[in-house]
């Protein structure tokens, strides 16, 4: 067989340098996505007639469009329509694209999680004189979060990988670096295997963090 172990091992140090950028992009996009997703979930939860339908159509666009196309439209398309958008730099555009798109997915997850919190919890809050907003932040959300963690984790793992699409906008991160190394060495298999292993390791690390968090959050729910 034709697997060059030497090269395979040498790939890692150069790839590892790009982990901070990948993680940074992913975490920042995720934070924004969570904030937007939560706001959307709270709005759609109320089912205000026209806004609800409109929002649903917009959300289906973001959910339905391939990430690559979305990034392309934001970075190259928008400036054609509105010249002032041309000041957006590539990293900003990537973060906008990643967060908007995943906000659309997260809003569905959050909506379901909010629904999963027993109606009686809100009633109890109101009955002791808390306002709706207070109830939301002190009682409802903390319970909803727990239900939303696994699905949100899936999205985050997705985002980590989707950052690689930012290469279209000129952001060289982990995967882009891997592609470049592969095409310089022509050792695609070794390089891509190394890339896979790094993503795998990131996923495992994150999964463990998530499990820790889940365990902590489910403390009140264990008999």
């Amino acid at each position: 067989m034709n697997f060059e172990v030497q090269y395979f091992l040498e790939v890692f140090p150069s790839l590892i340098k790009y982990i901070p950028l990948t993680i940074g992009l992913a975490v920042l996009s995720m934070i924004l996505a969570i904030m937007m997703g939560l706001i959307i979930a709270l709005i759609t939860n109320k089912r205000i007639p026209v806004i609800y339908q409109l929002l649903n159509i917009i959300l289906s666009f973001f959910r339905g469009t391939p990430m690559l196309v979305l990034l392309f439209l934001i970075y190259y398309g928008l400036p054609q329509l509105f010249p002032s958008f041309s000041v957006i730099n590539s990293i900003t555009a990537a973060i906008i694209g990643l967060s908007v798109k995943n906000a659309a997915y997260l809003s569905e997850i959050f909506r379901a999680a909010l629904k999963s919190v027993d109606e009686g919890q809100l009633e109890a809050c109101l009955s002791v004189g808390m306002t709706r907003v207070q109830s939301l932040f002190r009682i409802i959300l903390p319970q909803a979060i727990r239900n939303a963690i696994p699905a949100t984790g899936n999205i985050f793992i997705g985002v980590i990988k989707e950052t690689s699409l930012a290469f279209t906008l000129g952001v060289v991160e982990l995967f882009a670096q891997g592609k470049m190394m592969a095409s310089a060495s022509l050792r695609y298999f070794e390089t891509y295997l190394a890339v896979a292993i790094i993503y795998w390791a990131l996923t495992i690390i994150y999964s463990n963090l998530q499990e820790l968090m889940e365990r902590k959050m489910s403390k009140p729910y264990i008999k």
């Binding site: 150069s14 392309f72 970075y75 190259y76 400036p79 054609q80 041309s86 590539s90 290469f167 279209t168 906008l169 000129g170 952001v171 060289v172 882009a176 670096q177 592609k179 470049m180 190394m181 592969a182 095409s183 310089a184 022509l186 695609y188 298999f189």
Partner: protein, 237 residues
């Protein structure tokens, strides 16, 4: 006069031996040519690495001044962009497995499975053959696995730029060979957005290219990467 000015040049870093990374350093034939030109014109280069569709998008939306990535001059591209003079010549080359004796000329491609890659003009050249409809043409997204694809025997032949293919066959050591003469000839040049402001820059590029030809720098670079001079149009074939 251009001291301290910045030239934004895009490349993919994905095409050995034109534009690739060794460690963290971007290098390759195209890269060095632009660096030499920038030196002459007194520009700093701000390299932008992005994939090929991204390059075209960035060039068009004014985020890049030009692209150094083996951009061949074609009719469609000339509608959108102005080009500098050519700095290299290439052609669409067919390669096959070494032990393949069925395909010895372009005509032998009839009835065979032949691959090309998105975004290259070589795909268009293949489709432009008189008997293209008799060839089973397959397009792939990227050049990445193509030599292996041919080696595994999942395709019979592969068409791409001659300069790339020869360099890669040598480097990879795979049992592949070029067949016949290139089916087309292309000029490789620097594209610029059609804009009066660029005319001057193109002029300066052309000037610099002429000087680099003159003093043998281009020839030297070419031989460093290709072991032959691809910067002049071959009169034979």
């Amino acid at each position: 006069e251009n001291e301290g000015k910045v030239l934004k040049v895009g490349s993919t870093g994905l095409v050995y031996p034109f534009s690739f990374k060794e460690g963290e350093k971007l290098q390759g034939f195209d890269i060095e040519v632009v660096e030499k030109i920038a030196d002459k014109l007194g520009y700093e280069i701000d390299w932008q690495l992005t994939d090929f569709s991204g390059l075209m998008g960035q060039l068009e939306s004014g985020k890049l001044d030009t692209v150094a990535n083996q951009v061949a001059v074609t009719a469609v591209r000339e509608e959108k962009f102005n080009f500098s003079e050519a700095y290299a010549y290439d052609g669409t080359q067919i390669i096959v497995k070494k032990d393949n004796n069925d395909i010895e000329s372009v005509e032998d491609l009839k009835g065979k499975k032949v691959a090309s890659v998105l975004g290259s003009n070589h795909a268009a050249n293949l489709e432009g053959l008189d008997f293209a409809n008799e060839i089973d043409i397959k397009t792939y997204e990227a050049h990445d696995g193509m030599l292996n694809e041919l080696d595994f025997g999942r395709i019979d032949a592969y068409a791409n730029g001659k300069n790339i293919l020869l360099a890669e066959i040598e480097k990879s050591g795979l049992p592949l060979k070029a067949v016949g003469d290139p089916i087309s000839k292309e000029r490789v040049a620097f594209p610029f957005v059609k804009d009066d402001k660029n005319d001057e820059l193109i002029e300066a590029f052309n000037q610099a290219l002429a000087e680099l030809h003159e003093d043998g720098t281009l020839k030297e670079l070419s031989e460093k990467y290709f072991k032959e001079d691809v910067t002049v149009e071959k009169v034979s074939n």
